[in-house]
């Protein structure tokens, strides 16, 4: 949360003033919030969602929610942390709506089927991340980049912390393979 707090002042110099403006229903306040957080919110959504179109839809839904609910934002917390949680929840909701492939059997089948090819595969990180199944990619991003705990991820996904941990481990095993980082011998 400390990192999120420092992000507030980095993304929005006058966060307090803008929040007060938005809470008063001033459209300029809403737009200032959008302009400040548009990029990080889209980046988060794009890393979780399957397509750019989905990510843009989630970006829009996130800011509609932010503008509607800004009155509920408690100013003792991080504004970015609050906006980010809305965005992450919306993106995960989109994954569920699109009926993501979250069965390990199916994932393992796909990966095992490609295993021989993967042995010679060397991807860059961006491509490897993109290739991960949606849920694994979401867990990797939320945990390793955004800094959510397994318990927080589990809460947002409606799963257990163990589910989050095992998804993260599987994802790293695949990334390691696809990136050609397998230990020799």
């Amino acid at each position: 949360m400390t990192r999120a707090l420092s992000m507030d002042s980095y993304l929005l110099a006058d966060a307090k003033g803008v929040v007060a403006q938005a809470k008063a229903g001033d459209p300029a306040g809403f737009e200032a919030l959008y302009r400040a957080f548009e990029s990080p919110v889209y980046n988060l959504c794009r890393r979780i969602c399957r397509t750019a179109e989905d990510a843009e839809d989630v970006l829009q839904e996130t800011f509609l929610e932010v503008c509607r609910s800004i009155g509920q934002f408690r100013e003792d917390g991080s504004l970015w942390g609050w906006v980010r949680t809305i965005a992450a929840s919306k993106a995960l909701m989109r994954l569920r709506r699109n009926k993501y492939r979250d069965t390990d059997e199916l994932q393992d089948g796909i990966v095992v089927g490609r295993a021989r090819d993967d042995h010679h595969l060397r991807m860059d990180l961006e491509a490897a991340l993109e290739r991960l199944p949606e849920v694994s990619r979401a867990v990797v991003w939320l945990h390793d980049v955004e800094g959510y705990t397994h318990e927080e991820i589990a809460g947002m996904m409606g799963k257990t912390a163990s589910f989050s941990k095992s998804q993260l481990a599987r994802a790293h095993a695949r990334l390691r393979r696809w990136l050609g980082e397998e230990p020799v011998g």
Binding site: E38, N43, F63, L64, L125, V145, K165, A169, R176
Partner: protein
């Protein structure tokens, strides 16, 4: 020698100590291969964090703003409809109360009581005018003319009231009440003329 699993390695990066962490730590100190694997994990996470930020291909703000404006307008209409409904309900309940009062309310105050109230009000207004000492004040022509006109009408009413006092009429109380109420109205107007001047009275 059994090396650490990827889950155990990730566990080393987590805050807090879980069962098995201590044993994994001891193994890490002794195993160069696992330490190298943990380094690779650290580097992978660092590279993930360093990936370039992706940006939307188009500005979504105009769409969001339009949606917000539409929602606000719909909310306002909803409020107006709610207030209108509440108004209709209030009007309906007032009608009901009035109807019920007409049916069941006690008789209104008698004409005699109403007359004495009007007389009392009339005296109070005369006292107010007396306190103002109109005879010692200089009025402009228009104000003086209006005041005179009102005083003449009051004098005419007084004559009618005197005549009614001696009349034997079934509707005497009703007529007397009407005259006294008219007198109160004229005195009110006279107070206004003296205190606020004719320009504000609108006569």
């Amino acid at each position: 020698m059994t090396h650490l699993t990827i889950e155990q390695l990730i566990g080393q990066r987590e805050p807090g100590v879980e069962p098995g962490d201590q044993a994994a730590r001891v193994h890490l100190e002794a195993c160069e291969s696992c330490r190298a694997e943990l380094d690779r994990l650290h580097q992978r996470v660092a590279r993930l964090k360093a990936l370039p930020a992706l940006r939307p291909s188009r500005d979504r703000w105009p769409v969001i703003r339009a949606r917000l404006v539409a929602e606000r307008r719909a909310l306002r209409m909803q409020r107006i409809r709610r207030v209108a409904l509440a108004g209709l309900a209030a009007a309906a309940s007032v009608t009901l109360v009035v109807t019920l009062r007409d049916v069941a309310a006690p008789e209104p105050a008698s004409a005699a009581t109403e007359i004495s109230r009007a007389m009392e009000r009339s005296r109070a207004l005369e006292r107010t005018i007396d306190l103002y000492h109109p005879e010692s004040r200089v009025l402009d022509g228009r104000t003086a003319r209006i005041a005179q006109e009102i005083e003449d009408r009051i004098a005419a009413l007084d004559r009618e009231l005197e005549l009614l006092d001696v009349a034997e009429d079934a509707a005497r109380d009703t007529r007397q009440l009407r005259l006294w109420r008219e007198r109160v109205g004229l005195l009110d107007a006279l107070v206004d003329v003296h205190l606020t001047r004719a320009s504000n009275v609108g006569l």
